[in-house]
């Protein structure tokens, strides 16, 4: 199998989309936060919390969709902590975000260990299954790539459209874009800067948690330590790559998914001569290059990282 064959195989593209799915959730979540002017570095920990909470809810007897709801609520909770620290209190968004990552990660592991002190192999749940749509799933190429994914992948794609619509076609989205560029503009119109920012961070964090939940409830069927493995940080980079546009965010996530799917397949080809770490590294290195090229022209939301206090102008 040579490189060209990899690129035209349906399994490669299906894997790319599958790998991209948690990133799509994460990058959309980070994008919403940043559009409102708040960088949310809690993402890595919120991924872990979402993965843990969704999986545990299902393991305790909730349905799969119920598990997703729990994951979103837990994500929203950690988002609220970050929002309160950074928006009304105006603390450093970097420090608070990293703190939330450490807190959420540790709380997840702690809960897992406390609930399951004795297990050596983690218990499994029945995760989301690949869709089986009559006719469509049997189509050549597009069938396996698009119509044999799980419902969560489709949810992610729907979210891209939804986030785009809300940001660009609704008064709420307009207010979020404005508050991330110049909070005074929003305040002068009698809208609440704090309300908008806190709401955006909570909603964005809930989306991030869904990305985490995908890992335990769709990609795998149980929870492991370290399973988030930097996906949150990749999302932070992808937001810049995407210039804060949902459509480009989807593209960026797919690109990363494709790099990752490609390196796995390439490893089986030339793995005998090249150390496997090189391949594992490749998607990240390529992301950095893509970022360097794109990000120089990126137009940051004007008020990103800048706290705003009522009555001070």
């Amino acid at each position: 199998m040579d490189i060209l064959q990899i690129l035209i195989s349906d399994s490669f593209w299906a894997a790319a989309l599958r790998i991209a799915t948690p990133l799509i959730f994460g990058v959309l979540g980070a994008l919403i936060c940043e559009k409102s002017g708040v960088l949310n570095l809690g993402i890595e920990g919120i991924f872990a919390a979402g993965a843990m909470a969704g999986w545990m809810a299902v393991w305790l007897g909730a349905g799969l969709w119920g598990g997703l709801l729990v994951a979103a609520l837990v994500g929203g909770f950690f988002g609220l902590i970050h929002a309160i620290l950074t928006v009304p209190l105006g603390l450093s968004q970097h420090v608070s975000g990293l703190g939330v990552t450490m807190l959420a990660t540790s709380v997840s592991y702690f809960t897992y260990r406390t609930a399951l002190p004795q297990v050596s192999s983690p218990p499994k749940i029945v995760p989301f299954q690949p869709l089986d749509i009559p006719v469509l799933s049997d189509l050549p190429f597009v069938g396996p790539v698009l119509f044999q994914q799980t419902a969560m992948t489709w949810l992610a794609l729907v979210m891209v459209a939804l986030v785009w619509w809300v940001l660009n076609r609704t008064p709420l989205g307009l207010a979020i874009r404005a508050v991330g560029d110049n909070p005074d503009a929003v305040d002068a119109q009698g809208l609440s800067v704090y309300g908008l920012r806190i709401g955006a961070v909570v909603a964005g964090s809930a989306l991030m948690a869904l990305g985490g939940a995908f890992l335990t409830m769709s990609a795998f069927d149980s929870f492991f330590f370290g399973m988030v493995n930097g996906r949150g940080w990749i999302c932070i980079a992808l937001v810049i790559f995407a210039s804060w546009r949902p459509g480009k965010a989807l593209l960026g996530a797919l690109l990363f998914g494709a790099f990752d799917a490609f390196q796995v397949r390439l490893q089986t080809e030339v793995g005998a001569f090249v150390p496997s770490q090189i391949f594992l590294m490749a998607p990240y290195v390529l992301s950095i290059f893509a970022l360097v090229i794109v990000a120089r022209r990126a137009e940051y939301p004007g008020a990103l990282l800048k706290p705003w206090f009522k009555g001070q102008r």
Binding site: T170, A175, R177, A178, N182, A185
Partner: protein, 505 residues
């Protein structure tokens, strides 16, 4: 003008710490009236308007606003939303526009329910179109705010207020950032709007426009309302006396023979962002004992010229000589050593470091001098006593020399910069918009210091958008337009205005 009241401020008071910003101020406004609110910097004009608009909660007093049927109703204080709903629109001195939005989106912001699932852009477009037609305030609705000129942004702000059905419009120093022509257009538009029944309060320092365009004038001094006068009964001297409490001295200036050239540009070209903001092969000579005023509409190459002379831009071709010596390396320290003193355009941003103390800001341009540092250690005692002396000489008032420089008022920041620059006895002074936003007292002080430097033998390059200032101070006036310099051999406002608009006299 009818006699129906639309607004009354009743005994409004506001204190910030120990500072009384407003002391029982009462003002009334009538339908279709243009009221000018005058006062020096720190007199409390902006505070008063911010209370009206709900940005600040008054410590005492109340506000009544007429509703649509003309009945006076008390306004809920401290809530911008309540002010908006009562029909009050405010255009702040520093615009509150998000640069990433389009004009239409900026106007729409806050006008719709946040829960609506889509904008009613079409209806909004039609409504804004009608307002534009009625008032003559035109601007492209699909342009991005970030790409608009200051004048256009201001139009967006006014449109925004009118779109929200404002019946009372508050303009905080609307012409501070406008060219004379733009200002005239603005007041024409305001005239058209008041015919529709809109009432306007505008804050200003400029006596000329206050006299020309208002119906009534209220003057604030030290937070108190010290006088109200119908514009038809007022003249410049009367108002000036009300503002400062005494007659303002006019700056005496004596004729002087120009000395040797201190600055010479020889077919110098500096490329800017666009052809219009570049300098194109300009020649310019400034002599000792001479103030050369550069008049022009902003964005015609002034900033390229200022950047060149302050050492922030390198000429793409041509020569620059300071006191006869050609400059080869263009960095701020080189220019400073060559004898250039700089008063930057944006004094808050480029003139001081706000988070450092007044004393530190005063020595920031001469960190190598032995009274400032020895062996790499700051000489705190000499720095502080030096600051004490300078603050006294230049009348820099504020919370003291150890306080952060950002706590000073605009006028005092400018005095701090003057002190720092003039202390070094520069041969050439670049004064870029030196009195923009300053009150009459502070502006007169700046003018006096510039004339003093001229008498001592310095040359002054005065860049200003305030034509009155250029006319009052300059020995020669040069008009800048499209990156070209044209000497104006006249003192006639009209003729210079035409040159500024690009028409050759």
């Amino acid at each position: 003008m009818t006699n129906t009241r639309v607004l009354s401020l009743n005994n409004l008071s506001k204190r910030f710490g120990s500072v009384v910003a407003n002391d029982a101020v009462s003002i009334e406004l009538h339908r279709g009236e243009v009221l000018a609110l005058l006062g020096e910097n720190g007199a409390g004009k902006t505070t008063l308007m911010n209370m009206l608009f709900g940005h600040y909660l008054p410590d005492g007093g109340s506000i009544d606003v007429a509703d649509e049927s003309g009945d006076m109703r008390p306004l809920t204080l401290g809530h911008p939303q309540a002010a908006l709903e009562a029909g009050i629109g405010m255009v702040h001195q520093h615009f509150t526009l998000a640069e990433n939005l389009t004009v239409l989106d900026s106007i729409l912001l806050g006008s719709e329910s946040l829960l609506a699932w889509r904008h009613k852009r079409k209806a909004a477009r039609a409504k804004v179109g009608r307002i534009m037609q009625r008032t003559g305030l035109t601007v492209g609705l699909d342009e991005q705010i970030g790409k608009l000129t200051v004048g256009e942004r201001q139009r967006v702000e006014i449109l925004k207020a009118l779109y929200h059905d404002a019946r009372i419009l508050v303009l905080d120093e609307p012409t501070a950032v406008l060219t004379p022509q733009e200002a005239d257009t603005l007041f024409e538009n305001i005239g058209a709007m008041t015919k529709d029944g809109l009432s306007v309060i505008f804050i200003s320092h400029k006596l000329r426009e206050v006299l020309a365009f208002s119906h009534r004038i209220s003057v604030l001094r030290h937070g108190k309302l010290v006088g109200e006068i119908a514009t038809s009964d007022a003249d410049e001297r009367v108002i000036a006396r009300m503002m400062v409490g005494a007659d303002t001295p006019t700056t005496p200036r004596e004729a002087m023979a120009p000395g040797a050239p201190v600055l010479a540009l020889k077919t110098t070209t500096v490329k800017g962002d666009s052809a219009r903001t570049s300098l194109h092969a300009v020649d310019l000579t400034i002599h000792a004992h001479e103030i050369v005023g550069i008049a022009g509409v902003s964005g015609n190459g002034q900033s390229a010229l200022a950047r060149l002379v302050s050492g922030l831009a390198t000429p793409d071709s041509g020569e620059l000589l300071i006191s006869g010596k050609p400059i080869h390396r263009f960095t701020p320290p080189v220019m400073q050593k060559a004898g250039v003193g700089r008063i930057p355009e944006d004094r808050h941003h480029d003139g001081i470091i706000g988070a450092m103390s007044v004393a530190e800001n005063l020595v920031i341009e001469r960190l190598r001098d032995s009274d400032v540092q020895k062996y790499g250690f700051l000489q705190q005692n000499s720095i502080r006593s030096h600051a004490q002396d300078l603050c006294k000489d230049y009348d820099v008032r504020g919370p003291g020399i150890d306080a952060d420089a950002r706590l000073l008022s605009g006028g005092n920041i400018q005095k701090l910069i003057l002190a720092r620059v003039f202390e070094c006895m520069p041969d050439l002074i670049l004064a870029n918009q030196p009195t923009r936003g300053l009150d009459m007292g502070a502006a007169a002080e700046v003018a006096r210091r510039l004339l003093e430097a001229r008498a001592r033998g310095a040359g002054v390059l005065l860049i200003s958008e305030d034509l009155d200032e250029v006319l009052a101070l300059s020995d020669r006036i040069i008009v800048i337009h499209d990156g070209q310099l044209h000497e104006a051999h006249t003192n006639d406002r009209e003729a210079i205005g035409l040159m500024m608009a690009g028409e050759q006299a």
